[in-house]
Amino acid sequence: MITVIDYGIGNLKSVVKAFEHLGVPVRLSSKPDDLFRSEGIVLPGVGAFGEGMNYLRKNNLDQVIIDFIHKGKPFLGICLGFQLLFSSSEEDKEISGLDLIKGEVKKFDTQIVKKVPHIGWNRVELVQDDPLFRDIVEPRFFYFVHSYFAQPEEEEVIIGKTTYGSYNFASVVRKDNIWGIQCHPEKSSDTGLAFLKNFSEVVNKWK
């Protein structure tokens, strides 16, 4: 069973609906017991960094996530859930992130790109092979909506990159059993569904 963390913000249901559509057993929950007993966890979300982190901390979910990851089970962060994996964000400087992947989340500068947020379909260019991209061939178009992008400290965690204006940012990362993706696979039509299906298969093989 995959658990999608219910943390009160954003349109979390679409991730659940995508898994349901794929026939993957899934539940939406914020109960520590449910999370801990899951085979895989997805942290989705749209919203602000500080608000997201505060919610996780207030409900002790940050520790649950860290414990789950230490057990070595597959974890996927999507959009805000991806950004929360990092150490900090320019969006809310005084609030630290989960710090599971070293690096900072930064804001797109309107001096560099005219339109912020980065909204629409853009490509993920793979820099490393990864099981989550199995059978997903070029051009790998995904749907993005974000004003902030992550800058990992270690180059090796970067699986995929995306070009927006003169930015070339890390759109997919992986560190051991932790994956993160900036775009919205649950809104990226067949390509995104294939990505989520691959995650469910990784989860299945893992247990």
Partner: protein, 254 residues
């Protein structure tokens, strides 16, 4: 590279698509969910449902459509038409809509933009503007389905809407709408220069080059169109192939 979005718009009345596709092999071509699914398979980048249901009691039908679409069609979709309150927004977003589009209500109560952006994130809040040309390089905002002028300049209003928290601007030229003679490119490019949020062009699409012009000369980030797709003059794939050939970045499925 970020691609330009092609967005079919479906008018829904009492739960049925009006002016729907006539030539497609669907079980029920008036069913909004079937059509949404069809357009997704054809390569639409997003969808807009415009609820033109007049009677208040029948509005719950739209919620069911949203719920069903969200369970079957995995591209972003926006609901517009008759959204007047934070409660209306919440209901649609909870049912699975990705964005809500507000028009008259935003003009009457601009606070709604701010409040919606604060509660749900500005990426959910599309401000739709009906613009009518008034002299040279000047456009006036109309509300109530284009029936009532409000004495506001379109350019000033979209700047204000952005400042209040709009995530995107859906800009319809009332002069061009229905003519099939092309988008109002002057309006679009003025708007694109004024705001840093994406501008979605609407009104006037009849030929593929109209979409090209809106996206190039008009500097729009996305184009909305209805009849050009519904009447099956061109498929989305055909239009995208044409645009790609004109050096406009689009998402084409292979």
């Amino acid at each position: 590279m970020l691609t330009k979005r092609i967005i079919p718009c479906l008018d829904v009345k009492d739960g049925r698509v009006v002016k729907g596709i006539n030539f497609v092999n669907l079980r029920d071509e008036g069913d909004p969910v079937e059509l949404a699914d069809y357009y997704n398979r054809e390569g639409a980048d997003e969808l807009v449902f415009l609820d033109i249901t007049a009677s208040f009691e029948k509005r719950d039908i739209m919620i069911d459509i949203v719920r069903e679409t969200a369970a079957r069609v995995f591209i972003p979709f926006t609901i517009g038409g008759g959204i007047r309150s934070i409660g209306d927004m919440r209901q649609l977003l909870l049912a699975g809509a990705d964005k809500v589009s507000i028009n008259s209500a935003a003009v009457k109560n601009p606070e709604l933009i701010t409040e919606g952006a604060r509660k749900f994130g500005s990426q959910c809040i599309v401000v739709a503007v009906d613009a009518k040309r008034k002299g040279n390089n000047n456009w006036e905002v109309y509300i109530n389905g284009g029936r009532k002028p409000v004495g506001k300049s379109v350019i000033e209003w979209i700047r204000e809407a952005e400042r209040l928290g709009a995530g995107e601007i859906l800009l319809t030229s009332m002069d061009a709408d229905g003519t099939k003679e092309g988008y109002d490119l002057e309006l679009l490019s003025r708007a694109a220069e004024e705001v840093s949020k994406p501008v979605i062009a609407s009104g006037g699409a009849g030929k593929p080059y109209h979409l090209r012009d809106a996206l190039s000369k008009g500097q729009a980030d996305a184009v909305l169109a209805a009849s050009i797709f519904h009447e099956k003059e061109y498929s989305i794939l055909q239009i995208k192939q044409y645009l790609a050939g004109q050096n406009i970045p689009v998402r084409i499925l292979t």
